[in-house]
């Protein structure tokens, strides 16, 4: 199948290095301490953060660090065919991966003896859910005012028809090509998350990896804007 036509356009009309439209909003769940919705094209994720609060299960307490918990789930209606309800291995792994990515950007050492819960729900899945989850979680954590060393952002890139492609949608993702998800701390310029599958020669991987990192930086800009906008709004309200 042809995923990139001779004019260099993808199935949904994007160029190889073009991202889908990003819509993000913070403070969408009233009861949560922090929350955000993050949309990337047709992928839509909602994140809610509770904490820092008292540790519920004392035995999980870590010395001198806050305990970060993360729960990732996919709504039944998020994909075309209804998913079987089960606590599958993919969700378990994603919860772990997202939790550890967020731990890298939260200053856990300034909040010992406390717990931060991150809940993530995929409302619509159209590829790149784990990136969207990380971006949503970052916004929600910032909204909750949890001390962070940087904004962790994530973006994916793939390789199809010998072209590196930024931000794969579901059709492109399930085409069987490589899929590289990168999570970075943009200001520190460090890579925290890196997941990749399918076979790629070393050199190709480097270009795909670089493309995904560029994508991350673009997303970081967008996330910043959203947060700045939100903070400004709060200022206005206080002033009024």
């Amino acid at each position: 199948m042809e995923y990139v036509n001779p004019e260099g356009l993808r199935l949904d009309g994007r160029r190889f290095n073009e991202m889908r439209q990003i819509v993000a909003e913070v403070g969408v769940v009233s009861r949560a301490d922090g929350s955000a919705v993050f949309e990337m094209g047709n992928t839509k994720v909602i994140a809610a953060v509770y904490g820092p609060r008292e540790i519920q299960n004392k035995s999980q307490q870590k010395n001198g660090h806050a305990l970060v918990m993360c729960e990732y789930s996919m709504a039944h209606f998020s994909t075309g065919d209804r998913r079987r309800q089960k606590n599958d291995r993919r969700s378990t792994e994603l919860s772990l991966v997202i939790r550890q990515t967020m731990e890298a950007c939260i200053l856990t050492e300034v909040l010992p003896h406390s717990q931060i819960d991150i809940f993530l729900q995929v409302l619509q899945a159209d590829g790149g859910t784990r990136s969207a989850c990380i971006n949503a979680a970052t916004l929600a954590l910032a909204d909750a005012g949890i001390p962070m060393r940087d904004l962790a952002v994530s973006c994916s890139a793939g390789y199809l028809n010998s072209t590196p492609l930024l931000d794969l949608n579901y059709v492109e993702d399930s085409a069987g090509g490589a899929d590289v998800t990168v999570g970075i701390l943009p200001k520190l310029d460090k890579v925290t998350l890196l997941q990749m599958d399918a076979k790629l020669p070393m050199e190709t991987f480097e270009t795909v990896f670089a493309l995904a990192s560029e994508g991350c930086k673009a997303i970081a800009e967008r996330v910043r804007e959203v947060l700045q906008e939100n903070t400004k709004q709060l200022e206005y309200r206080r002033a009024a």
């Binding site: 990515t101 890298a104 997941q195």
Partner: protein
């Protein structure tokens, strides 16, 4: 709570500090260099598709099985490959029995991604009947001892098990031409899996805010390190999977450095695995050849056991006797010589014998005769006693031998029932002597 605290394995402040300071001068606690791998040993089990991998103190067992199932709807002509992990509580005090924990799931997923998404195993060749029957290959990985770096060890165990796995051959046939006939291992040589390339996992540990990289971390280092990355590469320099699950951020250059290290290492590890597998295959094929001379041995004990069972049977004995009589008569038809080579004949008649079937297969055919003999013994007690006496005269030596001789004699006695009793005895003694010579 107190119990949990007491039984938790913990690293002292001294240890964690020392590990880090030593690493700063490029030293590791077990005396290795930063990029040295621990000693890798691969062993194989008796059965197809079982492996045992030891990487330093880490010990993982892999086991591959296959089953015919209905294919997934979206992939009607592809078999499937699934990976299951078992973190036994015996391997590490922190492993808990019951449902697989986060780390067990992650380990399974890393190996799964490396093997499946890179199409290391040809799943299309696992299809028997498109849309109806495909082979579903299951890899079970059991962690027996956790000395650190479970992922690499488990990955090698999975590869070694896959490479030595043989699935039973099967053909499509039957009336509607839609039935799948599975041929047992004795009937047909089992078929190996088609493996295109070997994706090998290499785990790196990051220390000191991602500035120090270490290969193949031990359990002590795993406790101290601030980040981890597993890179799965093959010997052709392709990257099959990467997993860096969050944690401390590292520079891009460090990641690329790790990738290069891994791909430079892949060829060596591939070679080790291939050599071990070849050695195992060679041994396995040698075993098949060796089977001939050892055949006589199980026979000695085999019939004795069956005789006991034979006693219990009464009604069926007669029928069995008839069958066996026919069988032996056929062999006896031409000449006495033929009779003496009966043993070989019987073996030849059952080709399965040479194909790695259970060793008691052969005694079974023999046993049939023995049972029937028994029946005949019961009816003609006199002749039997006679024969025993004669035999004893011939050689009053080894008791065990005598018993077998006895049985054989009965055997032949049965066959020549219609002829004279004297003949039987002579014949009976002959093959026995022959056999004795053979075994000595």
């Amino acid at each position: 709570m107190e119990g949990r605290l007491a039984n938790m394995w913990r690293l002292t402040v001294n240890e964690s500090k020392f590990v880090e300071t030593a690493l700063q001068s490029e030293l590791r606690v077990d005396g290795r260099g930063l990029y040295d791998y621990r000693k890798l040993t691969i062993k194989f089990g008796k059965e197809y598709g079982s492996s045992e991998v030891q990487l330093g103190h880490t010990h993982v067992m892999g086991f591959v099985t296959a089953q015919l199932v209905q294919p997934y709807k979206d992939r009607p002509n592809e078999g499937s490959l699934s990976i299951f992990t078992e973190f036994s509580p015996m391997a590490d005090p922190s492993f808990e029995p019951g449902r697989p924990g986060e780390s067990a799931v992650e380990l399974g997923r890393i190996i799964d991604r490396g093997l499946r998404e890179s199409r290391a195993v040809d799943t299309e060749s696992l299809c028997v009947l498109a849309g109806k029957k495909v082979w579903s290959v299951r890899i079970d990985l059991h962690i027996l001892d956790n000395g650190g770096n479970l992922v690499d060890a488990a990955n090698i165990a999975a590869l070694a098990a896959l490479m030595t796995f043989r699935r039973p051959d099967c053909t499509v046939g039957g009336e509607s031409n839609q039935e799948v006939i599975i041929h047992s291992l004795e009937e047909r040589e089992p078929v190996p899996l088609i493996i295109h390339h070997l994706p090998i996992a290499f785990t790196f540990g990051f220390f000191n805010k991602g500035n120090i990289v270490v290969m193949d971390p031990t359990y002590i280092e795993e406790e101290v390190m601030c980040g981890r990355m597993t890179v799965t590469v093959n010997a052709n320099g392709d990257i099959c999977a990467i997993q860096k699950p969050g944690e401390e951020g590292v520079n891009q250059s460090v990641i690329l450095h790790c990738l290069r290290l891994a791909s430079s290492r892949a060829a060596a590890t591939t070679k080790i695995i291939r050599e071990e597998v070849e050695a195992y295959n060679r041994e396995k094929s040698l075993q098949k050849v060796k089977r001939h001379p050892t055949l006589a041995k199980p026979e000695v004990s085999g019939p004795i056991v069956v005789v006991k069972e034979g006693h219990k049977m009464s009604e069926d004995e007669a029928i069995a006797a008839e069958i066996s009589r026919e069988y032996v008569e056929r062999l006896n038809l031409s000449s006495v010589e033929l009779k003496s080579s009966k043993e070989q004949e019987a073996v030849a008649a059952s080709p399965g014998n040479f194909k790695g079937g259970p060793s008691n297969w052969d005694p079974y055919t023999e046993a049939m005769d023995v049972d029937s003999l028994k029946a005949s013994l019961a009816s003609r007690g006199v002749s039997v006693t006679k024969s025993t006496i004669k035999k004893k005269a011939n050689d009053s030596g080894n008791v065990q031998k005598e018993v077998t001789g006895d049985l054989e004699m009965k055997d032949t006695a049965e066959t020549t029932k219609h002829k004279s009793g004297e003949m039987t005895l002579k014949d009976a003694v002959k093959p026995k002597k022959k056999r004795k010579n053979k075994s000595s």
